[in-house]
């Protein structure tokens, strides 16, 4: 067995051990989004000048919409593992609603769509369709 094959085997074995150990030590549960106030605080930290308006947290606490009072723009926040991914929603956005279920589609290579169950889905739909136009 030459050195390169040995190195590959050590690497593959090492990856398997490290991932298994990480799972055993830290588990694999995702963290839900914080409540509306905390989420607004997080967005304010990430987006200089952000002033939270209306915040709609999905029932499963895995996604949310938040309005920025400065310019009326809307941000989507999604759970990814124990982190949060945010996107400013703008033109090119696809919006569809079925009752309280809102489906958003994006032209984004790593984020194609998002599903939200919101108590005021209809008002969000109107707002988002205004942005998308």
């Amino acid at each position: 067995m030459n050195a390169q094959v040995l190195q590959l085997l050590i690497s593959v074995g090492g990856i398997a051990v490290m991932v298994a150990l990480c799972w055993a030590i830290f588990g694999h549960a995702t963290s839900p989004l914080p409540d509306a106030d905390e989420l607004a605080g997080k967005l304010a930290r990430d987006i200089p000048g952000f002033r939270a308006g209306k915040v709609g947290l999905s029932r499963d606490a895995r996604s949310a919409l938040a309005e920025d009072l400065r310019d009326g723009s809307v941000y989507l926040a999604l759970v990814l593992g124990d982190g949060v991914v945010t996107r400013k929603l703008s033109r090119g956005l696809g919006v569809a609603r079925h009752g309280e279920h809102l489906k958003l589609r994006f032209k984004d290579f790593t984020l194609n769509s998002a599903d939200l169950d919101l108590s005021d889905a209809e008002s969000w739909e109107i707002k988002l369709k205004g942005l998308a136009a």
Binding site: A3, Q7, I10, S11, V12, G14, I15, V17, M18, V19, L21, C22, W23, I25, F26, G27, H28, R45, D46, P48, G49, L78, L80, G81, D82, G83, V84, V85, T86, R87, D108, F109, T110, L111
Partner: protein, 301 residues
């Protein structure tokens, strides 16, 4: 003298240290791990090694092509290795700075920054398609043209990469001031990986932080502003294929949309976030907005 590859030899040490850091984080709470993020980082490192080896001929071929024009023919000696190491570290600083300021290079380097975590596994989250970042080759040229042997350049660069592994951690707070003044440390590199507006585009150093101090890009980590990691528009996937290609897909999409050769060139060479109508954000515009916001919050004394 026959050189060895420091990175190859360091692989077992990488594995042991990642495991040790996991246990340390579990015991102390200083740091964060997420299993899918860790798996992605490790697979990115693995893929980078394989694909890097397959395309190494491009870098070697370029170096051999320009080698006949070298000013000197420097042999192996300890002083030569030390000087080559220092110059390679300076070269790394400028390559790294360009990789954050030139979209073509960022399309590749963005992978390394795409984790929202900062632990030793993040160090291994390396890009797969460096061969496409062609302007990066230019940064290799000076050392070859000075006349350092290619094996020596590869050797010192390997040492540089091995050094950079251990600084990807939240487990270590600060070192004594003299060390923090000269060397790149976990504290300095946390700033580099942070998305806080005040930390953007800072601390590009590989081994010696003196380059950032010399060229005006040094920003110290402060207790008031704990770093938050990743990229300004966080990637929404743990799929290594998507992570490895998202920067390139995004660049290709913009290039396809360009309406003139000027736009095409600017999409390639302007800072990440540049757009013809200014509708997107660059690190400069984010920092300017942050400074404006801070100034508005704290009236002049």
């Amino acid at each position: 003298m026959k050189p060895f590859d420091p990175v190859t030899l360091a692989v077992p040490m990488f594995i042991v240290l990642v495991i040790a850091e996991m246990l340390f984080v579990r015991a102390t709470g200083r740091g964060r791990f997420e299993v899918r993020d860790t798996a992605t980082s490790l697979l990115m490192g693995f893929g980078s090694t394989i694909i890097g080896a397959l395309f190494a001929f491009v870098f070697v071929g370029f170096a051999r092509m320009i080698q006949p024009y070298a000013l000197f023919h420097i042999g192996w000696s300890i002083p030569a290795v030390v000087i080559c190491f220092l110059l390679d570290d300076l070269r790394y600083y400028w390559w790294h700075r360009a990789s954050h300021r030139v979209r073509w290079l960022w399309a590749d380097h963005v992978n390394h920054h795409s984790s929202q975590h900062y632990n030793l596994s993040t160090a291994l989250r390396q890009p797969w398609f460096g061969v496409l970042a062609l302007p990066g080759l230019l940064f290799l040229a000076p050392l070859v043209l000075i006349g350092f042997p290619l094996e020596m350049i590869a050797f010192v660069h390997g040492l540089n990469l091995v050094y950079q592994f251990w600084i990807h951690t939240e487990a270590i707070d600060r070192f004594p001031r003299w060390f923090e003044a000269v060397m790149n440390t976990p504290s300095h590199h946390r700033v580099h990986h942070a998305i806080n507006a005040c930390y953007l585009d800072a601390n590009y150093a590989g081994v010696l932080i003196i380059w950032d101090r010399m060229f005006g890009t040094f920003v110290p980590e402060t207790r008031e502003d704990p770093p938050r990691y990743g990229i300004v528009s966080q990637i929404a996937s743990f799929n290594p294929l998507r992570v490895a290609t998202h920067g390139w897909v995004s660049l290709a999409s913009d290039l396809a949309k360009s309406k003139s050769s000027k736009e095409f060139v600017l999409y390639l060479l302007a800072p990440p976030g540049w757009s013809p109508d200014g509708s997107r954000e660059t690190s400069d515009s984010i920092k300017a907005r942050w400074a404006e916001f801070r100034a508005a919050q704290s009236p002049a004394e």
